[in-house]
Subunit: 157 residues, 2 copies
DNA sequence: CTGTGGATGTTGAGCGCTCAACAAGTCAGG
DNA sequence: CCTGACTTGTTGAGCGCTCAACATCCACAG
């Protein structure tokens, strides 16, 4: 009773798979080459830089950077050893940890950003028409909402 | 002189990033849970199953599954230890290795496929309109071509 | 032939991610 | 209070990927 993909759907799916894979591999490689950090770490730095005082609680940072708590923990540990992030404990909740972006971290981000945006433009925006860019946003937000509504299993009722 | 992303472009880029990340994480998790293989391995099995005699040279398999030679080597080694793939050497080119999908491998693929397609439908196709699906293919193929034309650096001339 | 440049496939080190288990803290009901 | 359920963040094992180095083989110019 499986609703298999027909020929058209196959092509669409494989094109999507190939394009996204190539895009992210390329951007990751560029970032690794030019700034020596993986893209996920770059994203963490960005979110921190946007926050008031350039600091966020680990859980908030995890949410905003689409990261699991575990992944974030490992990542911040690594970034801390680079001197780009510093962790302090939270005053009102003793479980809490607050990640602060250091000046060195901000500088590293500032150094990496121009090259990265250039890459994003080159590989994503420039090849597309204005109409396609609008479509891409709508398609992406639709997918996002669909996925957030069905986490995986229904909440234990 | 960096052409930064404006507000709209930011939103588009982050939506795209988030959607693709969530989609692939979800599909990967489902495949891992139901079939105990990562998505990239699944793709290798698919490509092999489509080939004549269910066999392909490593280099051809690497191309078709969007994989680096190194990654494929590791992957096939793992799949071989599962008994799902068997390697034989190539008659006319002594460097060559040919990967064969075994009956066990085909069975494993057949068992995993229905659940996976279901996931792809659920998370990708079902939420989108027919028009969006067409748009998605065009956007993807455009990105693909743009990336294939500019590998990274110009060929050493 | 012979050598030289390119292709093929493998390997090991290093790294990031997932998953499950865990310690520590919070909070609400009895 | 205090107990039990939940939340927060961390940890370690296992695994897949990248990257660079490598052994092997092909193909072609001389």
């Amino acid at each position: 009773m499986t609703r298999w993909l027909d020929e058209d759907e196959q092509q669409t799916w494989r094109a999507f798979l190939g394009a996204t894979r190539l895009v992210f591999e390329q951007l990751d490689r560029e970032l690794q080459r030019d700034a020596a950090i993986p893209h996920t770490y770059y994203e963490i730095l960005v979110r921190l830089s946007e926050a008031p005082d350039r600091a966020l609680r680990m859980s908030a940072l995890a949410d905003r950077s689409q990261s699991s708590r575990s992944r974030l923990s490992h990542a911040v540990a690594r970034l801390e050893s680079n001197g780009w992030v510093r962790r302090t404990s939270c005053a009102d909740d003793k479980r809490g940890q607050i990640a602060h972006l250091t000046d060195e971290g901000f500088a590293a981000l500032a150094a990496a950003a121009p090259g990265h945006v250039e890459g994003v433009r080159k590989h994503v925006f420039d090849p597309l028409t204005d109409a396609q860019i609008v479509q891409l946003r709508e398609i992406s937000t639709t997918m996002l909402e669909a996925l957030k509504k069905q986490p995986d299993a229904p909440p234990c009722d």
